[in-house]
């Protein structure tokens, strides 16, 4: 019996050794990988666009890109562990994530998306107008009826039924929630102090649905429901959505044009900015970039200069020729300003301290 037990201990030890060697192998995987295949991971939002871009790029250049849509958080983790060449995220690195990466990482805008306010109001055919205060009031649980004077007064000509409002939100952590709560925090001090912004927050009111489809399902089923989903999802599923009053006081219908317009502002040099409540006069106020994330210094983990160049060329192509694939897939292309900033950021990437793109 003791001998048997000792044997099983040996077995456990062996399997542990096996596990460790597999993990070790994974770390070396990237270095050993041939330079014709790049690895990426992250945002699910950008996945349809990336797969189209990468398949076109593959036909043109023979470079293969293996992109795994495991979610922004996962992409950041993979980049931190140096198992991928680039990550993709819908929210910029937070302090803790930046600290874990330890070295400077670049955020390169790839495309933008928007969050739209969708609702289920039987009999209302026109797009509703909503102001930041109304949206915040509803999500704080303060405005409880659709025929609230605040809503009625800015929607003259639309007869709004006296339904109670059912608030719905995402139950899973998501970039969509991050953009939406960032917007609410910017436009409403009470929201900012009570709830704050993040991929998942402590909702003061409402029901949670898993994913865009979960929220959409709740909204479609319940008369009087309000929710927020990605613009792309609302367009594809022909959902009703509202015009939102932007910083310049204009009510803007979310569309690819108004989303691109939102990014036509003076952007910070590192492009780490939420495109919420921007100064753009004809921009929709609840938008956000999806970024590709790479290390600023590309010589790490024994990577070759050739591999670094391949990666940079791919990203350069993404923000130039690649942009033609955005509109057909319902993504908003980068604005002129965003493109200029993205170019500068890409040019700042180095290999052994020398810039890669000239």
């Amino acid at each position: 019996m003791i001998r048997l037990f000792r044997n099983s201990k040996k077995l456990v030890l062996l399997s542990l050794i096996g596990l460790v060697s597999v993990l070790g192998h994974q770390n070396k995987l990237m270095a050993q990988n041939d330079d014709k295949t790049l690895l990426g991971a992250g945002s699910t939002f950008i996945y349809p666009l990336f797969s189209k871009m990468f398949s076109e790029y593959n036909q043109k250049t023979g470079i293969q890109v293996n992109y795994q849509s495991i979610g922004s958080g996962g992409g950041i983790l993979q980049l931190t562990n140096k198992t991928v060449d680039f990550g993709a995220t819908d929210g910029p690195l937070n302090e803790e994530q930046a600290k874990k990466i330890g070295v400077p990482a670049l955020h390169i805008p790839m495309a933008s998306g928007a969050v739209v306010i969708t609702y289920n109001l039987p009999g209302v055919k026109a797009h509703l107008n909503l102001t930041p205060d109304i949206i915040a009031g509803i999500y704080l649980g303060k405005i409880k009826q659709w025929n609230d004077p605040q809503i009625v007064s800015i929607n003259r000509g639309i007869s709004i039924p006296a339904f109670p409002i059912l608030v719905t939100h995402r139950s899973d952590g998501s970039g969509t929630t991050n953009i939406f709560t960032n917007y609410l925090s910017k436009v409403n001090p009470e929201w900012s102090s009570k709830v704050g912004s993040g991929g998942a927050v402590n909702w003061p009111a409402g029901l949670g649905g898993k994913g865009n489809e979960g929220v959409a399902g709740l909204v479609k089923q319940t008369p009087g429901a309000i929710g927020y989903v990605e613009l792309i999802y609302a367009l594809q599923n022909k959902m009703d959505y509202a015009l939102v009053k932007n910083k310049k006081g204009r009510f803007i219908l979310p569309s690819l044009t108004s989303v691109t317009a939102a990014g036509n502002i003076n952007l910070p040099a590192d492009a780490k900015i939420f495109l919420t409540d921007t100064e753009a006069a004809d921009g929709y106020p609840i938008c956000g970039f999806t970024w590709a994330l790479i290390y600023k210094e590309q010589n790490y983990n024994g990577r070759t200069a050739a591999r670094a160049t391949t990666l940079l060329k791919l990203l350069w192509w993404n923000i130039h020729e690649g942009q033609q694939y955005t509109t057909p897939l319902n993504y908003a292309p980068l604005s002129k300003q965003a493109l200029q900033v993205a170019e500068k950021i890409l040019k700042s990437a180095t290999y052994n301290g020398n810039s890669i793109l000239k």
Binding site: N94, G173, A200
Partner: protein, 306 residues
Amino acid sequence: MIEDETWGSKRVNRSHGQIRAEALFKRSLVIIGFSMLVLVLGILLTLIIESIPSLKHLGVKYLWGKTWDPVNNVYGAFPFLLGTLLTSFLALIISIPFSFAIAIYLGEYNPKGWLSNFLKNTVELIAAVPSVIYGFWGLIVLVPMVRALETKLGVLPYGIGIFTAALILAIMIIPYAASLGREMIRLVPSPLKEAAYSLGATRFEVIRNVVLPYTRSGLFAGILLSLGRALGETMAVTMVIGNTSLIPTSIFAPGNTMASVIANEFTEADHTVYLSALIELGLVLFIVTVIINMAGKRIIKRFTNE
């Protein structure tokens, strides 16, 4: 004589091989058995180690904290603990009459024949349907029905909430108790039943006074199995429970369960304490399951000792 000797030695050789095979077989059984133990202990250990940042940050008040706020790094598991226990036990209460009825009918009244087989397979099929299907079915079919019911009862007609989740769970766990119960009932020795009949007992009386007492521990084990399934179910629950971290005020109110919170928030938990708090939720679920199982085993033991 010589032939005898070779025959004898051959036989010794073969026996030696047989003994080795026997030892090898036994050893592999032990190894596989122990590897399960190692696996479970490994999971427990991982859960504990990964929960340390959250334990340090929040201490034990994590267990009865009522706020779940990833933005301010305040985590309290109480609403989800309550949600898990409420949905699971409610589901159990709803499912027991059905699973016992099925077990008694298939075990005692109609144990053979095509109809019995057909019914039995259908019930077992319920267990094989992926839970996401139940979730969608619940969202599309059950939720409007519950909403209509809620409108009649005069409570807030969400349609979604603890009650709907418990209904879905109840359907999902019926086969576990039903299958085990049926097998148990079929194992009741016929002399016992025949004796009761010969004393003039009716069929119902035989079931009540002979079959059920005889199978009590087995039926209870089936319930325990069902409960274990209900505690850990994730996908179907998350789709119909409403996913709010507020404490449920009634069984029709929306809520959330531990498994559902983990599934929802794990992939995008973007700071250490947050991730650790989610893992600690897994640890709590683990411990709750262990406690319920141990209590269940106790009860079974008491039943059988009687």
